[in-house]
């Protein structure tokens, strides 16, 4: 599964403004365009997931994820913070690139893990790619991701 085919431009924000972990999660959840009560419930679940263990995987990347009743299909959102924020990463580096993945609870858990795996696989080379800094629009981001995934 290619990540570039899963992400919609409207679910990409390359200028995240939040400076806290919860603020970042809130901005990412906002990209999913759910109704406010569903957004609130999802945020609570994502915060609980971060308490279970950080979803930062090092190299300036975090992949907040959960399965939640409030979505009917797998949804992916992407955010970039130019300043980077502390996200309790294993390498202690500030996190700049965020991939949010939310899947419904009833789907095949395998599908969820495959989506997570494909994000984790694409995220590392993307974060290390020097062209990422020059990307300013969601379309450019998806194009760069396509090139990396080829």
């Amino acid at each position: 599964m290619k990540l570039s085919e899963t992400i919609s431009p409207k679910r990409i924000n390359l200028n995240l403004s939040a400076t806290t972990r919860n603020g970042i999660l809130e901005e990412l959840v906002g990209l999913l365009q759910l109704k406010p009560p569903a957004r609130k419930a999802l945020l609570k679940t994502l915060q609980a997931r971060e308490e279970l263990g950080s979803t930062a995987v090092g190299n300036g990347i975090a992949i907040p994820h959960c399965r939640s009743l409030v979505v009917g299909e797998v949804l992916v959102a992407v955010g970039r913070s130019s300043r980077g924020i502390s996200f309790r990463a294993p390498d202690k580096k500030r996190v700049r690139l965020f991939f949010l993945i939310v899947a419904p609870p009833l789907g095949d858990p395998g599908d969820y893990l495959i989506t997570l795996g494909s994000v984790a696989q694409a995220a590392r080379p993307l974060a290390e790619d020097k062209r990422l800094k020059a990307v300013t629009t969601p379309q450019q981001f998806i194009h760069l991701l396509e090139e990396i995934e080829e």
Partner: protein, 117 residues
């Protein structure tokens, strides 16, 4: 959204997360991807906190549904209860107060949540 329904949804999501964090296969797959799932205590504390927010009558229904199905809320998609896969009667499915009132499936008894489209 009904405040009790919101708590029930959060509880169900967290119960699933606890189950996954305890499942060796899932934990191994997550670990390979670099995800930590070590602080189960905090999840258990969040679960207890949420359970404390349930009204007594809802709490007993929650306990019953958990014992019977392992889950408490069924999503409704295209008028189908995904707890028992039975069609929801139009009188409920077409109601204006879906998700604002706490409805239960007439067939399986699970609490119902209409998923955003």
């Amino acid at each position: 959204m009904n405040a009790q329904l919101q708590v029930l949804i959060a509880l169900q999501d967290i119960l699933l997360m606890i189950r996954e964090a305890k499942d060796p296969t899932s934990k191994r797959a997550m670990g390979k991807m670099g995800f930590e799932m070590n602080n189960l205590k905090s999840l258990e504390a969040t679960k207890s906190d949420l359970e404390g927010q349930l009204k007594p009558a809802i709490r007993s229904e929650y306990d019953r549904a958990r014992r019977r199905y392992g889950r408490i809320v069924a999503p409704v998609i295209n008028s189908i209860c995904y707890g028992c896969f039975v069609k929801i009667p139009y009188a409920i499915d077409g109601a204006d107060d879906r998700n604002k009132t706490l409805y239960r499936c007439e067939n399986c008894g699970m609490f119902l949540y209409w998923v955003d489209k």
